[in-house]
């Protein structure tokens, strides 16, 4: 057979990749961080607490998945090695922070984690947008870091020890003014890390980073704010003003994030806006004193968001289908009905149990009802339809079990921040917002142009 090959036409095969050394000089800082973690554990400077365990397992899970993911995804990226280094360093720093028995070690790991994340956000170094995003992140983190350092110093000086356990034990007995100052500073640090307004811009800009970075960022990095406050819960409880402030910024962020999520038409942007709302919800839950619920939210949302980010490239829709939005949403009487039933259920719960977490339970109930409403609308016969119908029950049931498990290890605040009826009021507010949003989403309501433009502006970083 006279088979010939066109030498000049054929693309040459991949060139031989030179074998790289296993470790290079640039890997040393990561190795040092690892040694530090090992050292901290060996010398008893590490302690396993419920929030610490939750944060570090979340970090290990997500970092593991992301590293395997990015081996393929960043194959053609000349900076792939630098990504791996920073991601590993970030995971180690997060675990170190989560397990630190000493507040100074915690603060150091917190600061290192922030710098590493800023480095990851600026991954595409030759792109102005990425450089701006990294700078913005660095600035916001610096503000949070300053607040945290000041808080740590206040607490260490006040308690006469930098040991976390000593600080939390001494918190109720210390000078209330000092505690209030420290707690407010802690809240500010958490707000910066959780990208709550007015710090949201760094998160909205961080989309200049590759997808795996976003997955790490939204699961395990932003959540550290919740971890910090739960770890130092006694400080927060000693300062009702700070607690109220935390609750307020949480509510604002939850509403703000949900609103800007509506106007983002890009997948990653709406996911980032949703993170702002979710972090607001987590912190407001912390403010309420429902620490177990906040912790479970931190883990579950982190995984959920990482999953959504990693899969964000697969969101091309089949074709222009105008009016299909409405089909996805609940039609008119449904949202109001769901809200009404939830409110009735919450009232019943209030009667039955004086000290229930009405807000999280009420929202879960509303979500379940809404899901069932959708399932009913497309009611299918047969076992499959039944399975779809049962799914919300199963998931909520699993969720309650998980929450009970977390509660076994994490106590809630002794005194609730606000009385039951206030929680009930907040639930009603959120549900009203939800009914409004469903109306908007199904095209029944619109916004006036001026309001829309403002919301749109709030949801996008300045050009």
């Amino acid at each position: 057979m006279n088979q010939l090959t066109i030498s000049a036409g054929l693309a040459a095969p991949m060139p031989h990749q030179p074998a790289r050394p296993v470790l290079s000089a640039a890997d040393l800082p990561v190795a040092a961080l690892g040694l530090l973690l090992a050292g901290a554990i060996a010398t008893g400077h590490a302690v396993v607490s419920a929030p610490g365990a939750a944060l570090s397992s979340l970090s290990v899970l997500v970092t593991g998945v992301v590293l395997v993911f990015s081996r393929r995804q960043l194959r053609a990226d000349p900076r792939a090695r630098s990504f791996t280094r920073l991601a590993l360093g970030l995971a180690i720093a997060t675990i170190l922070m989560a397990l630190a028995a000493d507040i100074l070690l915690l603060v150091a790991a917190w600061i290192v984690g922030g710098r590493l994340m800023a480095g990851l956000i600026g991954h595409v170094g030759d792109w102005r947008e990425a450089r701006l995003a990294a700078r913005r992140a660095n600035l916001s983190f610096a503000a949070g870091d300053l607040a945290l350092v000041a808080a740590a110093l206040l607490l260490a000086v006040g308690a006469g020890s930098s040991n976390l356990a000593a600080i939390t034990a001494a918190a109720p007995t210390l000078d209330p003014t000092m505690m209030t100052a420290a707690a407010v500073l802690l809240v500010i640090a958490a707000m910066a890390r959780c990208a709550l307004p007015p710090f949201s811009a760094w998160l909205m800009r961080s989309l200049a980073a590759p997808t795996p970075v976003s997955a790490l960022l939204h699961a395990g990095f932003v959540n550290a704010g919740g971890f910090l406050l739960i770890s130092l819960a006694p400080v927060l409880e000693a300062a009702p003003i700070a607690r109220a402030m935390l609750f307020t910024v949480g509510v604002v962020a939850a509403l703000f994030g949900s609103a800007i999520m509506l106007v983002r038409v890009d997948v990653k942007g709406s996911l980032a806006a949703s993170t702002v709302a979710q972090m607001g919800f987590m912190l407001l839950t912390v403010g309420l004193g429902a620490y177990a619920a906040a912790l479970w939210h931190m883990v579950a949302h982190g995984v959920f968001k990482a999953w959504l980010f990693l899969g964000s490239a697969g969101t091309i829709v089949p074709a222009a289908t105008s009016g299909n939005n409405a089909a996805k949403m609940l039609a008119k009487p449904w949202p109001a009905l769901v809200a009404l039933m939830t409110i009735i259920a919450a009232l019943a719960l209030m009667q039955a149990d004086r000290n229930a977490a009405i807000l999280p339970l009420g929202l879960a109930f509303a979500a379940m009802l809404a899901a069932l409403g959708v399932a009913l609308k497309g009611a299918r016969r047969g076992p499959l339809g039944l399975l779809v119908f049962a799914a919300p029950f199963l998931l909520i049931g699993f969720n309650i079990a998980a929450l009970a498990l977390v509660s076994a290890y994490q106590a809630n605040a002794a005194i609730p921040l606000i009385p039951d009826y206030a929680q009930f009021g907040l639930l009603s507010l959120l549900l009203a917002g939800w009914v409004w949003q469903q109306g908007i989403a199904s095209g029944e309501l619109t916004l006036p142009p001026a309001l829309f433009a403002r919301l749109f502006h709030a949801g996008h970083p300045a050009p």
């Binding site: 036409g9 393929r72 595409v124 509506l262 890009d266 709302a277 939210h297 829709v317 959708v374 998980a402």
Partner: protein
């Protein structure tokens, strides 16, 4: 406005109307500057420079590059890399350099001692130090960045909250919200704010006003409008698609036109006054280059004093060549390298064709799509027995739209050059109704689950939904990352064999035709005509084998915004299986067979037509409707399947080597959600060969050639060749130009790095948090991991075996073809079937020995 006539009051309205009419005409012209861009769910390759095809290639590219802010060619460093890898051979390079210098005499005339123009130019091309000007990510001015995100919101398909006033049209809607946008207010100074507030409500009025304000005279207006149209080329391209190629339902509730877009750009540019941004083209000083060139040859800078004027001019001329021109020399050399290797082999094969061919009946015949990815598979398959393969446009000549069985919207399964003549519904395949019902039920259940997530993930319920879905997400994430193939298999099992149990129905089964012909989607005479078309266009002999397989194709990838770019372009960016099935069922229909026999295409009674789909990522061929194959053909089918399996392995291994991965890893990549390059797609495409398969069957084309079967002897009036040159050839040229320009400047004509892309509106991608819509192909589809282009920028070589006169008539008669040939957007080579010599069409003349 012409003020000179202003004192005659009565004339003002008339002159205004004239001016308006003139501007409107110019707007229509300027709108053509950008090419239409299909949404990614049905990605179609288009030439991003299709608005420049009236110009010669070498003039069009620098012009367009300047307008869009792109590079006009790869950098010299990249070209040298390609040359070092052997993709450009020395002889071809030498010829390209000589041609660029105006012939042998000019090139080798002595300028000084041991120095001639040839040496100088070669030194510039390959030896002198050169900057590696990379393709840079485009940055929008702040005003345009704001406009870009509003455009994204306007064109959005799936956001929950829509821009108020969308139904009033693009300009009315956005000019209103821009006024309220705090970002715009902050960017605009006093005059800008007034400009924004007083913007006329009519877009043409706005443009007239802006032209006046910017002092753009009537002569300069077209260029000015073209700049406005090209300010946000991505969104403009999307709009061009909506205007010219999308059905009315695409713009339902949100009408928009290019006029409105240009008016908005003018509005924003008037409001946010930024000085014209200097485009940073690294200008090398020609004098410095002259000196460097002389120094390279060991001559002092003043050596030229002794030269004559002509020699000095030559040196100056060579030093003044820019990267675009130098790049074109490399590109021509790369094209010639390919042709000089291929043409002699084709000439030889053409000569051998006259020898009597074997008259044995083949075991099986397979008709593949002309796609370049069919070639390695066909080559491998033909060596597995007495198997013949053919190339035909992958929609098998059926101009249909498919109405899927589930609630998915209708989709066009035909080249975008045509419009669908029939809507074909998808129904449960005969004999598999129960399975089909089960599959549909599962699909509906999955859709319900998705709808539940969608309805609850936003707003207040979103907090609980995130918690509830978290554990599921953890499992899904681990499964997709650690066991992608297993997960994919489980998913396939869960979803069911949708592709198999649902089939497009032409109503050629007897239960339906009993209802009267009115129930048929495609009338009988049309079905016969489509069936006959396949034989006339490909030259497939009516003495068919016992099995004839029609093989469509589709890619296999997950979590990939560019998935459709791996599917069949001839099927409108969708998998080609449905067309293959429909064509097979038409050809198996006794009524159609009778009709064919009456029209002189009698097919053997024992021929069975089989439909299949080639998975181009995994090189597996899936056969449809196996249960309909008569028992008498079971053994033939088994043999064919065995051959397909073996050929698939060979082809996969060949492609894996080109991807620098193992064949097994290709299978993993097809199912892995992190994969950015499941396959090379049509990268490397360089030629479109029209002729019998025997012409190319002995040549390893390395997946670089579109192959269209054609027999000039059976096409006496040239109508088949006309059909090929006016449709598939044009499509191939679009694809070729998309790959070419996406490689040349991946940031402007391509979609950039996949990992920083962000899906917007459900139909496109932007980079990072927003900006202009990305056009073209992503970086990973064209460049290797080490950053070297895998795709060599080369214009399509169209190689036809047919009488020269016949080809020439077609070129001269059809403007769409003539334009491409005359302006050098393709290289047309015709192999004379009597003398077996290749001829290259160069500026209206046939030149023998093309390379």
């Amino acid at each position: 406005m012409n003020i000179a006539t202003g004192n005659l009051v009565a004339q003002i309205p008339a002159s205004l109307a004239d001016e308006r009419a003139a501007l409107t005409a110019q707007i229509a012209l300027a709108a053509q500057t950008v090419a239409p861009l299909w949404p990614l769910n049905s990605a179609i390759a288009v030439n991003p420079l299709s608005g420049f095809e009236d110009l010669a290639f070498e003039d069009a590219v620098p012009q367009a590059a300047a307008l869009f802010g792109a590079r006009a060619s790869l950098s010299l460093v990249q070209w040298r890399q390609l040359m070092n890898e052997g993709r450009i051979d020395y002889v071809a390079m030498r010829k390209a350099v000589v041609d660029a210098l105006g012939g042998l005499d000019e090139a080798f005339a002595s300028l000084g001692p041991d120095l001639n123009a040839y040496n100088l130019l070669v030194a510039r091309l390959t030896e002198l130090p050169a900057d590696d000007t990379p393709a840079v990510r485009r940055e929008l001015s702040p005003g345009l960045a704001v406009l870009a995100r509003w455009l994204a919101a306007f064109f959005d398909r799936k956001a929950t909250l829509q821009v108020p006033g969308r139904e009033r049209g693009l300009y009315a809607c956005l000019s209103q919200v821009l006024r309220f946008d705090p970002a715009m207010q902050k960017l605009a100074d006093g005059t800008g704010a007034a400009w924004l507030a007083k913007a006329p409500s009519d877009p043409v009025e706005m443009l007239l006003l802006a032209a006046q304000r910017d002092g753009v005279g009537p002569d300069a207006r077209l260029a000015w409008l073209r700049r406005l149209a090209a300010a946000l080329p991505g969104w403009a391209s999307h709009l061009r698609w909506r205007e010219d190629h999308a059905g009315p339902e695409a713009s339902l509730g949100a009408p928009a036109s290019m006029t409105e877009l240009m008016a908005l750009v003018a509005l924003v540019e008037g409001a946010v006054r930024t000085g014209p941004k200097a485009v940073e083209t690294p200008q090398t000083d020609p004098a410095a280059l002259e000196a460097a060139l002389l120094a390279h040859f060991g001559l002092p800078a003043d050596a030229t004093r002794t030269w004559d004027a002509k020699a000095q001019a030559k040196l100056r001329q060579i030093a003044a060549l820019d990267d675009a021109r130098l790049g074109l020399i490399f590109q021509e050399a790369a094209e010639a390298s390919f042709l000089s290797a291929l043409a002699p082999q084709l000439e030889g094969a053409s000569a051998r064709l006259t020898a009597p061919q074997s008259a044995l009946r083949p075991d099986a015949q397979l008709v593949f799509c002309i796609d370049v990815r069919s070639e390695p598979m066909r080559r491998a398959l033909e060596r597995q027995g007495r198997i013949e393969t053919f190339g035909y446009a992958g929609f098998f000549g059926l101009p249909i739209a498919l109405d899927p069985a589930c609630s998915a919207p209708q989709r066009n399964q035909l080249p975008v050059l045509l419009s669908p003549a029939h809507v074909v519904t998808e129904r449960p395949a005969k004999g598999r109704e129960a399975e089909a019902d089960a599959v549909l039920a599962r699909q509906a259940a999955l859709l319900d689950a998705q709808a539940m997530l969608d309805a609850t993930k936003g707003g207040a319920t979103g907090f609980a939904t995130a918690e509830a879905a978290g554990p599921l997400a953890a499992v899904a994430m681990l499964a997709r990352t650690l066991a992608p193939r297993l997960t994919d298999a489980l998913h396939q099992r869960l979803v069911g064999a949708r592709k198999q149990v649902l089939a497009p129905v032409a109503c050629n089964d007897h239960d339906h035709s009993a209802h009267a012909d009115g129930g048929s989607a495609i009338p009988l005479d049309q079905r016969i005509a489509y069936a006959r078309g396949m034989f006339t266009l490909t030259g497939l002999s009516p003495e068919t084998g016992r099995l004839v397989a029609l093989v469509g194709h589709g890619g296999c990838t997950t979590n990939n915004a560019f998935a459709a770019s791996l599917d069949c372009g001839a099927c409108g960016g969708h998998p080609g299986g449905p067309n293959a099935r429909l064509m097979a069922s038409i050809l198996n229909d006794p009524a159609v067979r009778d009709g064919l026999a009456q029209q002189g295409v009698p097919l053997p009674a024992d021929t069975w037509f089989l439909a299949a789909q080639h998975d181009t990522t995994r090189d597996a061929v899936e056969i449809f409707d196996r249960h309909l194959v008569p028992a008498s053909h079971a053994a033939d089918l088994a043999r064919l399947e065995e051959a397909l399996e073996r050929a698939g392995q060979i082809a996969r291994k060949e492609r894996a080597a080109r991807l620098g991965r193992s064949a097994d890893d290709l299978l993993t990549g097809a199912a892995h959600w992190a994969e950015v390059r499941p396959e090379w797609g049509l990268s490397g495409n360089a030629a479109f060969v029209v002729g019998p398969r025997a012409l190319t069957s002995e040549i390893d084309l390395g997946g670089q050639a579109f192959l269209h079967s054609y027999d000039w002897k059976k096409d006496e009036d040239g109508s088949a060749l006309t059909g090929i040159m006016t449709a598939p050839m044009i499509v191939a040229q679009w694809i070729n130009c998309q790959y070419l320009f996406s490689t040349i400047d991946n940031e402007v004509f391509g979609a950039g790095d996949k990992t920083t892309q962000n899906v917007v509106g459900g139909f496109g991608v932007v980079q990072g948090s927003g900006g202009d819509l990305c056009v073209g192909l992503p970086r990973q589809s064209l460049f290797r991991d080490d950053g070297v282009p895998y795709h060599t920028p080369r214009r399509l070589a169209v190689i036809i075996e047919a009488p020269l006169q016949r080809v020439q008539d077609i070129v001269l008669r059809h403007d769409a073809v003539g334009r491409l040939v005359e302006n050098g957007w393709i290289n047309l080579i015709v192999i004379d079937p009597w003398k077996h010599k290749a001829h290259h069409w160069v500026r209206g003349e046939w030149t023998a020995r093309p390379c």
